[in-house]
Symmetry: C2
Amino acid sequence: MRWLLSIHRGLYTLGSRPAGKARTIASRCRFCGTLSASKPQPQPRFGLLFDIDGVLVRGRMPIPAARKAFEKLIDSRGQFVVPVVFVTNAGNCLRQTKADQLSHILGVPITQDQVIMSHSPLRMFKKFHEKCVLVSGQGPVLEIAKNLGFKNVISIDMLRESFPLLDMVDHNRRPKLPSNPVSNLPVVEGVMLFGEPIRWETNLQLIVDVLLTNGNLSSPHNTQAMPHLPLLACNMDLMWMAEAHSPRFGHGTFLVCLENIYKKITGKELKYEALMGKPSELTYHFAEYLIRSQAMQRQWKNPITSLYAIGDNLMTDIYGANLYSRYLEERTSRKNPKAMIAKVAAATGSNAAVPQEEEIDNMRESELALPSATSCKSVLVCTGVYNPNAEVPSDASRCLKQTVFHGHRDFRFDPDLVEPDHVVQDVNEAVDLIFKQENFVPE
Amino acid sequence: MRWLLSIHRGLYTLGSRPAGKARTIASRCRFCGTLSASKPQPQPRFGLLFDIDGVLVRGRMPIPAARKAFEKLIDSRGQFVVPVVFVTNAGNCLRQTKADQLSHILGVPITQDQVIMSHSPLRMFKKFHEKCVLVSGQGPVLEIAKNLGFKNVISIDMLRESFPLLDMVDHNRRPKLPSNPVSNLPVVEGVMLFGEPIRWETNLQLIVDVLLTNGNLSSPHNTQAMPHLPLLACNMDLMWMAEAHSPRFGHGTFLVCLENIYKKITGKELKYEALMGKPSELTYHFAEYLIRSQAMQRQWKNPITSLYAIGDNLMTDIYGANLYSRYLEERTSRKNPKAMIAKVAAATGSNAAVPQEEEIDNMRESELALPSATSCKSVLVCTGVYNPNAEVPSDASRCLKQTVFHGHRDFRFDPDLVEPDHVVQDVNEAVDLIFKQENFVPE
């Protein structure tokens, strides 16, 4: 049984639980093997969800408040004093890679089990794992897909090589001689959009080609063919905050292009089988589950009843936390998960944003669908994409008319959902506030 | 006085008109200098406007019917028997380059004065010629802009180099070290979109940045700043036909992305100062003027009263020819150019599609605004983007509801304007049909 995350000289291991030692915090040195006991820590009843970009880093630069905040979250043995997960909409690397980056930036050891990326829920979509799926993004997309359980994945570059006449925008990359498609590629059965690719014209053209040929690029377009192939998209962030003055394009901007080109060509709406990443409620289910798992590992007996989500983006972090909190509150009051999820679906304006019935059933079988949390508070920081000088007007009807909705097309603008529970300057202030709210005083 | 285009052994020169020889066709050999007289050609009362992609070529491959058609258009001395212009929405090269390509493909000599590219009307926009203008496209965009009269042009790449923190989509092109903008670039005062660029994410990001900072990239975004900087766009083609089975993305698809990203971020419509290229009426004005000039050069006394526009695209070639024909017909009946142009503007749903009042006045001063043509017939070929199996329904109300409009956002769908006067298989059949309609029998 794994029970304890211990650290010594910057290295950490998982030890075995000695019988009858549940309430004693101990750490085992990886080098000398000795166990040291110390006075018990207060046991938390809450867990923390941290966004990364705009909260902990901006581009490659750490935000100074992040290190200060994490000093408070780690005890003298290098262990977290509360359950902590990192929920990012980034999707262009493996969880382990992101965990390593965070360990380096924050100066504390982070494991991949503390990281939720926008593509993490794709593990659940087992019905696609054996199918031939086209994947779009940058970074090691084939490796990420295989890591998630997909057995038969092809990339945009593989399509380009097999069908050289399709990608014609860049004059210098057009085939120099007439060429016919020579392909052993199977027919594509689904499309996964992990994150923003490079050379958008190439991915947009080939994804549209795949959708309009029902996955067989040897055929001409058929704009009448409906429904199109299943489309799974991760990360809806329209923009994100890097070092520049103003936000930069994210995957949501790529989706705006894809949705509008598809609509212009076919006259019909592009439909998503699923939309993952914040503010999708699926992502918060995972986060809650991982937080509960950490508490179990640490043998904290108190249930984790409160979650705090700290982020810089009204349309993803705040909207997502509030949407999930609405779900938790209704669950607590009604004890009827299916009806309640349907209600959340109505709020999002789309089925794609929430798990389908089959997936809800799958989740109920697992621990996932049984959250111990009853609320998820949203905490907005001002170190990222949020501009305190351009606040959302308090009057709802004015909001709907005047505020520009930077959320995804399939999420309805609801003024209540973009209203943070707390606004603080930075992540360090956020941790102070939460400790105060919870009357939590670490050793 | 220049009067004659003559050809001998594939080389052609302009000669001086011998007094009293107006009705005698003569050619001067470039090598031996001898003049040879022959029987008079019939004098045409019509001119031809050829689209290029999908009519004369598909990608790099000539369409066989094109050479056959041009054999009929050239007399034994290598001279055109009717005025001919090539009207292309391509915008990524100089007119001379396009003329050289056509000479090679068709086996007949084409001069740059026979070529209208989508950016050609920018010569008229003199109020921008001294301003600092950002130009987007691929190919020699700075050279093209300078050739059109612009004195102070900067490229997207120049912006990227000066502001390295702005273009963040491609992880591998992000600056490796923190960097501050170091720029001697002037404030941008206008944006010109010549044609589809490569790396759409880069151009989309930087164009949006320029629009939202009022041309000063050192400033943060101001999404309230309206109106945005003047935006001039050439070539609205959503798609075009290359070698592949199905149409490929054109500059119109890039504009769909730009318009929708701008709207998503600001909540407001992107506005064009001018839209050039087919189906814009500005482009047909130029074409008519060049055709008239050719007739004058050849000293054909009959006015050119009929134009025929041969194209493969309902939304550009047919729509544009019919829109211009409507203009010519109303002009003939009302003799009131300003009122008539206003009426055409109403049909397009935008002022951007037609010249502004100042430009109309400029044109009236020149020969441009005095067309001799009274009609422009549209001839659709089936060798390009048009699919005869997906015809426009004849019933207008059904059209508006069911047909997908592939024209630009600022051009209203009008079923009458996408109805060709003639449909033929290819350009060779088109020339046969026109000769028959005009009772024209070349020597």
